[in-house]
């Protein structure tokens, strides 16, 4: 058996992609948050270091200012000039937090911290034991040397970015490990389908050819029914074979686009599926106007076959299939079991089936979607449970007028 490499399986499925993206987004957010926290801790530790360096100097300034205030208090009111220094600015506040005198650039002072940054300055608070001039709180203000800040921020940015990159590489590595079993199972299934496909062609062709050649006029009614069932079963397998062949072989072949008479094609495919539909007493109601699109014949046939076969497969007994063709769109509506609204977006996923009692691999609509996307057409699905499903394809591009 030949196992050819299928391009379809080498690409991630959209569900796989979204899982991957979700995991990466979550991982990225978590890693960023952890790095941010580490950055904050590092910044705070550097700030503390800077404060502890400044504290010694500011404390000395404060003691110097206290001595000057004491002198002024004793000389008051003969001397009323508040003591000033070129090295620092200061302010005094009373026990009630009311300002007595201030030379500060930033008056938004804090009584709950000994040392803190405000604007481009550092404030140091000293609480006095003797309230000279009524001052309980003495604030010393100096301009901040921003060197530590620049160094800290550049360190955070450099190490943070580097760590983030390394952790993202690790994340991608882990994701590939986690996804490997899932990917392997998909590859296994694809390979199985590919291998099986090659074994189907000859027997199906033989069955269908022989059924067509049989002279039913000589058969009893019972045998005619049996032959009809064989025909249906063979066509079902043939349809599946066409899908599988498309997936494994045709999907990668070069498209041969040509003008396709959609009305004629629909009529042909409806006739082909008539026996299949008849088995469930499903009737077609066609409302077809002339329309032609520039597309690969095999591909548009796959689209039609899958839409019609799904409409039959998921329809109720004695149901109807309405096919409407207009110049710019094609609509296939059934009176079947319908799909829950939250599941509608998943119907184009490969191997997605909504009724396990029906046959198939769940690849039909995936093929439809891939062809629709290839030709930049629009597909929309509306479905109501127990009422039916309507699938509409808009093909504005590629029509004779388009």
């Amino acid at each position: 058996m030949l196992v050819s490499k299928n391009k379809g399986t080498s690409l991630l499925r959209s569900s796989e992609k979204s899982s991957l993206l979700r995991f990466l987004a979550l991982y990225f957010i978590l890693v960023t948050m952890i790095l941010l926290l580490l950055g904050i801790f590092y910044y705070q530790s550097q700030e503390k270091l800077m404060f502890s360096n400044q504290r010694t100097i500011l404390s000395e300034y404060a003691n110097r200012q206290v001595q000057a205030l004491k002198q002024l208090h004793n000389d008051f009111p003969h001397r009323t000039i508040y003591p000033r220094s070129i090295k620092y600015r200061s302010a005094i506040y009373d026990i009630e937090g009311e300002k007595i005198f201030s030379l500060l650039k930033h008056d938004n002072i804090r009584f709950d911290k000994e040392i803190y940054r405000v604007g481009n300055s550092i404030h140091f608070l000293k609480t006095l034991d003797d309230y000279y001039l009524g001052a309980k709180y003495l604030f010393i203000e100096v301009d901040e040397d921003k060197a530590w800040y620049k160094e800290t921020m550049s360190n955070i940015l450099a190490f943070g970015t580097l760590t983030l990159i390394v952790l993202i590489i690790f994340g991608l590595f882990f994701v590939s490990i986690f996804l490997r079993p899932m990917r392997n199972s998909i590859v296994l299934l694809d390979n199985f389908i590919k291998d099986t496909t090659h074994e189907l062609n000859t027997p199906i062709s033989a069955i269908l050819a022989n059924v067509e050649m049989m002279d039913t006029s000589l058969m009893s009614e019972k045998n005619q029914k049996r032959l009809s069932r064989i025909n249906i079963a063979a066509k079902t397998v043939s349809h599946l074979y066409q899908d599988l062949t498309y997936l494994t072989l045709s999907h990668n072949r070069k498209s041969k686009d040509e003008w396709i008479d959609m009305k004629q094609l629909i009529e042909d495919r409806v006739e082909y599926f008539a026996i299949l539909a008849g088995a469930k007493k499903i009737t077609f109601e066609l409302d077809l106007k002339e329309s032609a699109i520039f597309i690969d014949g095999i591909k548009i046939a796959r689209v039609l076959d899958n839409l019609i076969s799904n409409a039959i497969k998921y329809n109720k007994r004695n149901g109807k299939i309405f096919i409407t063709l207009r110049k710019n769109y094609l609509q296939v509506k059934d009176t079947g079991i319908g799909i829950k609204s939250k599941k509608v977006n998943e119907i184009f996923e490969r191997y997605t089936r909504f009724n396990s009692s029906e046959g198939g691999f769940g690849i039909g609509l995936n093929i439809v979607k891939s062809i629709i996307d290839e030709y930049d057409l629009q597909i929309s699905v509306e479905s109501i449970v127990d009422v039916g499903t309507t699938i509409r394809i808009d093909f504005t591009k590629g029509t004779l007028d388009g």
């Binding site: 008051f76 009111p77 508040y82 009373d94 026990i95 009630e96 309230y131 009524g134 001052a135």
Partner: protein, 114 residues
Amino acid sequence: MVKKILLIGTVCTLFLGADEDKNVYERNCIPCHRYAPASLEKLFMVYLKTYSGELSLKGALKAFLKNPTEADSLMNNTFIENFSVKDKTTLTDEELDEAIDTYWELYDVRKKLK
């Protein structure tokens, strides 16, 4: 004789009228402290150094004036031994508040610092 009587009467009236113009602080605090060894301004600075804020100072001063004790006095022992603790005030609460407010306004360092 009549002139002398008129002159004495005029001077008395002026003095009485001048006394009425003075506020509670000037009438009740200054007269005694004028002769005290510690000026009112120095006492204010002592109170300020001890109580810091306006509300704290005014509250402490009012409490002391209403019930002066040796323990609450901010003066040193030598001062108290020589001059003893002052007598209780005879002023009402409102008058005391008014006198203390005037005292604060007069010596508040915020207005004088430059």
